[in-house]
Symmetry: C2
Subunit: 275 residues, 2 copies
């Protein structure tokens, strides 16, 4: 375990969902100009075309830090598996080291326990497939308010238990402050994730109060909420992690604004909270 080599300020990656309706090309160009990485999303990639998107980031010299999003295993399983294989292939073409997985919610005829078993089974099939293509699957625990409809995986500990049967280069976890900050075991969870070599993605977003009406799109700009983001960065870095730090904000107010403006504001907020 060595001290991080790169300052956190040099490790900013802009997740495209933060400016969801911003043209992918413009987003990549902004990242190129500022030495930022980018987290890509499958839908805009498909819109531009997979090969064209891969060429775009390569020509711009922009590092793709993750591809969002695989998962939703608790939908009819066979179709979900095929869709995830496709997403893994796309990540490989784009040079994304990581495919972020949101597990899916509780199926009509199931319980949270059967849904979790479904995630285990899907991972067993997908992990070797991802490994062969040099892609790490990153299980993302979502905040428990999404446990019924989006993600039955609710804590880092649970994500690590799901990852455990697989090699770390095949299955890791996402450390996203927005989803885990409330967890009384969060620091132990991060320490365990690092010890097991499974921090596949590190993402920042803040928690604002009160929650907006649409809880899916209420993630706060860095510094606007109650999460001690600097402590998270220091804790994660202290484990020896010096990978990209992505900012992913689902926020209606941000989405309504010009992407370039949101990019600059987000980058400035990142530099402010991690200074």
């Amino acid at each position: 375990m060595s001290a991080p080599e790169r300052s956190p300020l040099d490790r900013f990656s802009f997740n495209h969902a933060t400016a969801k309706f911003w043209d992918q090309r413009e987003a990549v160009e902004a990242c190129a100009r500022t030495g930022s990485g980018i987290g890509l999303w499958r839908e805009p990639v498909q819109e531009m075309g997979l090969e064209a998107s891969a060429k775009l980031v390569k020509d711009a010299g922009v590092t793709v830090t993750s591809l969002c999003r695989g998962g939703f295993f608790t939908d009819p399983t066979r179709a979900a598996i095929e869709e995830n294989k496709k997403a893994i292939d796309e990540a490989a073409v784009l040079g994304a080291p990581t495919l972020v997985l949101v597990s899916g919610g509780i199926p009509e005829d199931g319980t949270i326990d059967t849904a979790r078993e479904g995630v285990e089974e899907a991972l067993a099939e997908l992990a070797p497939y991802a490994g062969e293509r040099g892609v790490t699957l990153a299980i993302e625990p979502l905040h428990p308010m999404f446990a019924s409809d989006r993600c039955v995986v609710a804590t880092i500990g649970e994500a690590l238990d799901l990852a455990a049967p697989h090699p770390a280069e095949q299955v890791g976890v996402v450390v996203d402050t927005y989803h885990i900050w409330w967890d009384p075991q969060v620091w132990q969870g991060i320490a365990r994730a690092a010890a097991e070599g499974r921090i596949a993605s590190f993402q920042l977003a803040d928690w604002i109060t009160p929650l907006p009406a649409g809880v899916l799109t209420g993630r706060g700009q860095l510094g606007d909420g109650c999460i001690d983001l600097k402590r998270y960065q220091e804790t994660v870095d202290a484990t020896g992690f010096d990978g990209p730090i992505e900012v992913e904000l689902f926020n209606d107010a941000l989405w309504a604004r010009p992407g370039a403006e949101v990019f600059e504001e987000t980058r400035a907020a990142f530099r402010r909270v991690l200074a």
Copy 2:
């Protein structure tokens, strides 16, 4: 550990907040008619008067299963301590074995960690006070979506850690399905709570999807959501618990309807899901 002596169907207790605007006297009379217990709230008790409320339940022969609500320790501390002592005194007069505690959120100048320390300190002062009056403080973990503004205690495990320094007759925990159902460690948490003799209150409410706009008042009627309530009752009972099973639903739609109707519907739902 003995098998439960009373059928769950005979252990229904109606938390007054389920029909928040229903007259306390009518609620108590409905409970008397049906052999139900009642969970009282401080505000309606104060409105009727503490002694008059105590006489009401005593004359009606209705068991008070809990008093809601103490806590909010992360408000300015000294005032919160005094207010909680008053609530303990009220519980003793009403014959409520349990005062439910919601810890409070994150103070303006604090973090979730300092807030949790504040809860520890408040408990240290209040636990002996409660013990002298025969009242058990019941720490209620709330769903993590309330962690910033209402309750920094988010899991049974955390509530048990907070209770641990105190005798079980002084500090226990609330097992409320609505708040804990998503927790991957929930079954271990219930087993531990039982082993430590700390199940001070058992409450049912269901989780419905999508969450309503006001997340505070979106608890589902029993059977309307995704929680396997029967499994919770069986699991809790299997530990030897045979205390009251309270139904507490914060739900705008229920609150808009006549209390007597809500009472009957809730009692019927209780009998249906636990049959």
